[in-house]
Amino acid sequence: MVDAVLFEFLHTEMVAELWAHDSDPDPGPGGQKTSLLVLEGMGFRVGQALGERLPREMLAFREELDVLKFLCKDLWGAVFQKQMDSLRTNHQGTYVLQDSSFPLLVRMGSGLQYLEEAPKFLAFTCGLLRGTLSTLGIKSLVTASVAALPACKFQVVIQRP
């Protein structure tokens, strides 16, 4: 298996590249939003592929909670070499996944420094979660929030038609 640090470097460079184009005279919310969407889209496609590859040897998922547990254990284990720290739900389709030391943020600092920069580093992972859920048949909306580096929370809201 390849070293995890390669992914971290690549991810950092991706964010940097997308934000480098943002230095035009109109750095309004419009341009930033596109970059976030691009990152999320990339994460989505990767999530779709991982959602096909990772559960291959596993038995069929019985219910939604099983899928979320799979995300916290197997997906996080495969991508970040650790498991999610906590999973909470209100049993009505909203799940909050908490990671107290998110690998992509851990190198940036700890505490409140760089809090405004943190969201761009979470966009790809939000897409990753959304993509994996979509391959497993669940439509969802994933958002992330950071209170203090490197802890972050991902909120998954299942969209029921």
């Binding site: 390849v2 992914f7 990767v46 291959r56 596993m58 069929a60 048949g137």
Partner: protein, 189 residues
């Protein structure tokens, strides 16, 4: 509906794939000898109903067996139909000639496993958009029913990226960046 790949009368082997349950459209169809193709298509169409039935039965009963392999769906007078469903609700259906009694259950299972593995590889191909018909040549060689005992012949890997070097350089930088990064992500993960 996914069209099945159907083999010829000597050795009918075929399979089909269906997408997400709401849509159930075919991703890949293949017939070896093309006589009676319509009959096989119809058979697989019907067997998708049996597959759906089995899936919902699995969900309701508290069965410990939550296998992906669904087994013999139903035997008709000439043919046997086998099914397999993945965790992402993609269904594979195979139609086999009944006279071919040499095919044992574990051979069918291993055929489905190979198909599942190569379907996973197709999904991971950054040039493939999920939901499109499968056009990869690598997939075609894996999914080819052989003339003999029905055991798939293996095929060596054809790196899709290497096949189209010109294509990669022609497109705009953003799109190339996007897909190359995606494929690298997949490799690294």
């Amino acid at each position: 509906m996914k069209q099945p790949v159907v083999g010829g009368p000597e050795e009918s082997a075929g399979w089909a794939r269906a997408g997400p349950p709401e849509e159930n459209y075919p991703l890949y169809i293949r017939s070896v000898p093309t006589e009676n193709e319509l009959k096989f298509h119809y058979m697989v169409h019907m067997s998708l109903d049996v597959v759906d039935e089995k899936i919902s039965a699995m969900g309701k009963a508290l069965v410990d067996q939550r296998e992906l392999y669904l087994g013999l769906l139903y035997p008709t007078e000439d043919y046997k139909v086998y099914g397999y469903v993945t965790n992402s609700k993609v269904k594979f259906v195979m139609v086999v000639d009944s006279s071919n009694t040499a095919l044992r259950d574990n051979e069918i299972r291993s055929m489905f496993r190979k198909l599942h593995n190569s379907y996973t590889d197709v999904m991971c191909n950054p040039f493939y958009n999920p939901g499109d018909r499968i056009q990869s040549r690598y997939w075609g060689t894996i999914a080819e029913p052989s003339e003999g005992s029905g055991i798939w012949t293996g095929a060596f890997w054809e790196n899709i990226l290497l096949l189209m070097p010109n294509f990669v350089f022609d497109i705009e930088l953003e799109w190339a960046f996007d897909s190359m990064v995606t494929s690298m992500m997949i490799q690294v993960c």
